[in-house]
Amino acid sequence: MLSPYPDRPRAHDGDTGAQSVSSRGWPWLTGSCSLMKCQCWQESGKGRLRSSDHWSLGTTRWNVEDTGVGKSSIVCRFVQDHFDHNISPTIGASFMTKTVPCGNELHKFLIWDTAGQERFHSLAPMYYRGSAAAVIVYDITKQDSFHTLKKWVKELKEHGPENIVMAIAGNKCDLSDIREVPLKDAKEYAESIGAIVVETSAKNAINIEELFQGISRQIPPLDPHENGNNGAIKLGKQTTQASRRCC
């Protein structure tokens, strides 16, 4: 797998924990990339485990009775498809985590699901603030969902974190015979806003992995000076093991 991260100086080979999470008080902050220390599985027995990125999934719903565009299914598919010993199961599907190896690093995804209904729209900023990436899901069989998507993109552009990586997922590509949104439209739009675009099928597990890998590659590497703390404060990692629930 191609590592999206340039090899950073590894002066402190092996011991990434204290380093990477050095500014523990605010690791996930505006910079959005935060690190998790875990065990590593590299040849030396200690690789870098890092980066938990925090996602928002914004989406819209066709209408409330509808099962929606399927963002929860995408997440579930992503999280559950590959059995991962490292994740502690979360209590529900609204918040899920998954650790993905990326080069010699591990990225931990903290996926925040956002209620897409209009009435909850106003709460969205709480969810997307501080996130490194946003996945916006629409339903290729519903033209309206694509319109709503554009509203979300606009909102994110205006109020979202700077440099947020945006990914557009056209879900239900298994139903392409009743498609309303041509792939071409989506691609053009994505290009215009500099977003990743991919058509997925949560049902058939198509492109789910690719979607997240694409995002993973786009997440900027750690701010180098976030690494080099002044040394005076060594702060702990943010709970890696399953010991804690609230992470």
């Binding site: 002066a11 402190h12 011991d15 924990g17 204290a18 380093q19 500014s23 523990r24 008080g25 605010w26 996930w28 902050l29 505006t30 220390k37 938990s52 925090h54 719903r61 009775e65 929606g68 963002k71 929860s72 299914s73 209590i91 529900g92 599907a93 609204s94 918040f95 985590t97 903290l110 925040w112 699901d113 956002t114 209620a115 897409g116 209904q117 009435r119 909850f120 729209h121 106003s122 709460l123 900023p125 709480m126 969810y127 603030r129 501080g130 109020h159 040394g231 005076a232 404060i233 060594k234 702060l235 702990g236 990692k237 943010q238 709970t239 093991q241 804690r244 629930r245 609230c246 992470c247």
Partner: protein
């Protein structure tokens, strides 16, 4: 239980069959007590059954055959009833004055484990002298410089900036080429170990202590500087430690003419050999057939081996002495030597109480039992011993009587646990009230350490109780005492004790009736069969020792925070009382919570940088855990005392700004809606579930720790999910969950939730905000906001822009706070020292806003320091060795800011003192410690 716990005289060995690992537990039981005896016999019994599992134990069997028999016999004799005890206790009373008893109790233990009064273990030496060898800030060059002049084997522990980890810098002999080499220390979540070694330790001290006696991956063992290894008393060590880094260049660091084996300081009283060998008596040594270094061979990676510090000496003796372990039989022989170790005591004076208070005598008997047993064992050994050594006559006599007494003590078992329990509450206040860290341990240590002065001051029954607890089979209290003794320096409560306390704390919060609950729980424990109890106890010991460094640290910090002699203590206490007394100092609830959070973060930073924690936190807690531990400690020492106040204040704020009323009204409104109107299209919890959730929310209100509150919130959410999923079988995302959560919160109809959520959101450790807790907290906050803004006509509309702004601000605030604050920017606080000619310096942290003039500050000072003639005093700035009296219209905070902004850091202090006071500086110097930065 798969593993069998084998506890012998201070060592617990866990053989985990499945894992094929051995953990030598650093469970510090520093004496042979009755429970040990029973553990012993028990152990031997189960050993008969499962002997095949444990080669380790097999080896012991042969070695302790005789001893075992003795023990079993004793057990049998115990069943004979009370007679012997009573007889014995009377005897004891007759011939033992109170303080004398202490003495009796103490000595065997001391000699057994070399506690301070007799001899210092390597661990003790390390603990006392860490300012010398633990030099985390030293650079490589400086370390090289220091070690250059030292003999091979001398070491420093420092933090390598290159590797970003702690290293042992070890002086090598010339033949190695390089003058020194560094060995990196690996820190995992719970342990410290050397790179390349499979042996892990609970803290740095244990690690170093181990490598002082076993080389493992090192080229040779570490050596303590001569002065340290030969120091005879704690005081001497303390004196050396005072020198800190200067030790290395001071004359104190004198080298021996020709370096003797470092670990064999000969002491004239013969204590050391005896005491060292003592450990062999119980076959511990044979257990040690697997010395840690041997263990390491069989481990591939990550295997754990906790080394019992008490055992170090035995091992060390091996290495420095014969290099070979004494042969199997030596334990017995050595055992007989043991009685020699305690200093000679005068014959016990007679006491008359025995006839007058049988009750008393009874309580005291068990109290004495641990020693009794100890003696007994040794007595046995002496009898069995192949190499009898001279034993002082009085001792001999005692041994005989103790033999009988043992039986009696057992019969008291039933009543014992109760008393042991009772003791615990007493312990708490003691701890709380004690200034500084060491005293609690000291205090308890006193009564065990043959310090008549302190023991006399206690009523006899008290002492008796303590003893009782020592023996209690089912509880952990004995462990606690043992632990204290093994780590006298720390003043920590015992591990198990603390875990118990933890439990109580929980129950405190969860049940509202902690004493009852805990009592119930406790008393139930003694219905358990003995075996189970003992096993449990051992298990608890194990778990707690896994937990200990953290809990000990939290406790230590909490103690420190109550100690006004420390800067940290002052800071915390001043802040807490300030908040409580000045209700009007915050403009809003957010403002208040934010300040508290900021204060906690700052204090945390201060603690991690300051040297007030002794030993330094880095030496006990692996680096990646430090912040977690500090955070917990902050909750305990800041939020715990403030919780009630904060709650009341929050309510006041919400009442005042109308949001309470708004929420109340809207809650009613929302409750009347049916779920669909709230956007709920998933199954909702029924009344029973809502009740359950309510209970959880109620519990949440009783907690002070935001983290624990969040845990409960997660439980509530989990319950909601369960209900949703049970009834439909599908997974629900936020689209469904948020409406249901809103509905549930409305159904619960708890106005207090609003403040609870606010409390959590503002006070939770920021790093947790991105995890699951943060997510559901955000959701709960969102749900409450929806309710608050629920209005018929608005049902499906946006929240008012005001709310949106609030939400945004909150998140921004909590997420953009990047810079790490330092102690120096305790904005709005000014540390002012008060200098009096006669009384030296005291310091106080005052609330001084940026535009408060010196005149006002003076007024404040006069009030705070209770100065009768304020016109005689003024505020001075001491900077660069000069004094400047501040003009009345200057702004101290601005001056402070200005000083901080200078390129070079200046040390400065604000001092409130008499205007005409000549010997400037002189007294000030004394108080400097107190002042640090303003």
């Amino acid at each position: 239980m798969e593993g069998l716990w084998w506890e012998i005289n201070g060592t617990v060995l866990l053989t985990e069959k499945d894992l094929g690992r051995t953990v030598v537990e650093s469970q510090a039981c520093s004496r042979a007590s009755l429970e040990e005896t029973s553990a012993w016999t028990m152990g031997t019994r189960s050993l008969d059954k499962r002997g095949s599992f444990f080669k380790l134990i097999d080896t012991i069997v042969s070695e302790i055959g005789e001893l075992k028999q003795e023990m079993v016999q004793t057990d049998v004799s115990l069943e004979n009833g009370l007679e012997p005890t009573e007889a014995h206790s009377m005897v004891r009373h007759k011939d033992g004055g109170y303080s004398e008893e202490k003495d009796v109790k103490t000595c065997p233990r001391d000699s057994g484990y070399d506690t301070l009064s007799n001899r210092l273990s390597i661990l003790d030496r390390l603990l006392h002298t860490h300012p010398i060898w633990l030099q985390l800030t030293l650079s490589e060059e400086e370390a090289a410089e220091v070690l250059q002049s030292q003999p091979p084997g001398i070491f420093l522990v420092r933090k390598s900036t290159k590797m970003q980890k702690k290293v042992i810098s070890l002086r090598l002999p010339c033949e190695f080429g390089a003058p020194l080499k560094e060995f990196a220390i690996k820190e995992s979540t719970y342990t410290f170990s050397l790179e390349g070694s499979g042996i892990s330790f609970a803290d740095l001290f244990r690690l170093i202590a181990f490598y002082c006696i076993s080389r493992d991956v090192l080229p040779f063992t570490l050596k303590l500087p001569y002065a340290i290894s030969t120091a005879k008393t704690e005081a001497q060590l303390e004196e050396l430690a005072q020198l800190g880094l200067n030790f290395w260049s001071s004359p104190a660091d004198n080298k021996p003419p020709n370096p003797p084996p470092p670990h064999r300081p000969l002491s004239s009283d013969g204590v050391c050999p005896a005491s060292r060998q003592l450990c062999l008596i119980n076959g511990v040594h044979s257990i040690k057939t697997r010395t840690p270094s041997e263990l390491e061979c069989s481990q591939t990676n990550g295997a754990l081996c906790f080394i019992n510090p008490l055992f170090l000496k035995v091992h060390s003796q091996d290495l420095s002495g014969g290099l070979k372990r004494p042969c199997i039989r030596t334990p017995n022989a050595n055992g007989t030597e043991r009685p020699r170790s305690p200093p000679p005591r005068p014959p016990p004076p007679a006491i008359n109480s025995l006839h007058t208070s049988p009750q008393l005598s009874r309580t005291e008997t068990p109290a004495r039992m641990p020693e009794t047993v100890n003696h007994n064992k040794h007595g046995n050994i002496a009898l069995l011993g192949t190499k009898p050594t001279p034993i002082p006559p009085p001792r001999l006599k005692k041994q005989a009587s103790f033999l009988e007494a043992e039986g009696g003590a057992k019969t008291l078992t039933g009543s014992r646990p109760c008393r042991a329990r009772e003791r615990e509450p007493e312990q708490e206040p003691g701890t709380a009230g004690s200034p500084g860290g060491a005293p609690p341990a000291e205090a308890r240590g006193n009564c065990t350490r043959a310090e008549p002065a302190s023991s006399e001051s206690r009523p006899p029954w008290h002492g008796g109780r303590q003893r009782l607890s020592d023996m209690s089979i089912s509880t952990s209290s004995s462990d606690s005492l043992e632990f204290d003794r093994s780590m006298p320096l720390f003043g920590y409560e015992a591990d198990t004790n603390s875990s118990l306390e933890e439990y109580e704390e929980e129950s405190d919060q969860e049940t509202m009736a902690p004493p009852i609950k805990s009592k119930k729980k406790r008393s139930s424990s003694f219905v358990l069969p003995k075996l189970v109890k003992s096993q449990l106890r051992k298990m608890s010991g194990v778990f707690s020792s896994f937990m200990t460094p953290e809990k000990r640290m939290v406790r230590r910090i909490a103690e420190l925070s109550r100690d006004k002699c420390t800067y940290f203590g002052c800071l915390v206490q001043d802040y807490v009382s300030f908040l409580q007394e000045n209700k009007e100092c915050h403009v809003s609830s957010t403002d208040m919570l934010q300040t508290i959070r900021q204060f906690m973060t700052q204090v945390k930073n201060y603690l991690s940088q300051s040297s007030e924690l002794d030993p330094p936190i880095e030496s006990l807690i692996p680096e990646d855990q430090i912040d977690v531990v500090l955070e917990k400690a902050m909750h305990k020492c800041i939020l715990k005392p403030l919780k009630g106040h904060v709650k009341a204040m929050l309510k006041d704020f919400h009442m005042a700004d109308g949001s309470w009323k708004q929420l109340k009204e809207n809650l009613q409104l929302v409750r009347q809606r049916n779920p669909q109107e709230l956007g709920v299209f998933a199954p909702t919890p029924d009344i029973v579930d809502v009740e359950k959730i309510k209970v959880k929310f109620m519990t949440m209100q009783k907690m002070y720790s935001p983290e624990k509150k969040v845990m409960l919130l997660l439980r509530v959410c989990k319950l909601i999910y369960t209900v949703m999923e049970n009834n439909s079988g599908r997974m629900y995302g936020a689209d469904d969950f948020l409406p249901v959560l809103t509905y549930v919160i409305a159904q619960c109809d708890m106005l207090e939730l609003d403040t609870e959520i606010e409390y959590m959101m503002e006070l939770l450790d920021p790093s947790l905000l991105h995890g699951e807790g943060g997510y559901y907290l955000t959701s709960a906050y969102g749900a409450l906001s929806l309710i608050k803004n629920f209005q018929e006509e608005q049902a499906a509309r946006l929240l008012s822009s005001e709310t949106r702004d609030t939400l945004r601000q909150w998140h921004k605030r909590r997420t953009t706070n990047r810079s790490i604050p330092s102690v120096d920017d305790f904005q709005n606080y000014l540390r002012v020292a008060f200098q009096e000619v006669n009384s030296g310096c005291t310091g106080k942290t005052l609330l001084v806003r940026p535009y408060v003039t010196t005149e006002d500050v003076c007024q404040l000072c006069a009030e705070k320091f209770k100065v009768g003639d304020p016109e005689e005093y003024s505020l001075f700035l001491f900077v660069d060795e000069t004094w400047q009296q501040l003009a009345e219209d200057t702004y101290p905070q601005k001056i402070k800011a200005e000083l901080h902004s200078r390129p070079q850091p200046h040390i400065f202090h604000f001092v409130y003192k008499r205007i005409k006071n000549d010997p400037y500086g002189v007294i000030f110097q004394n108080g400097e410690e107190d002042l640090t930065t303003s």
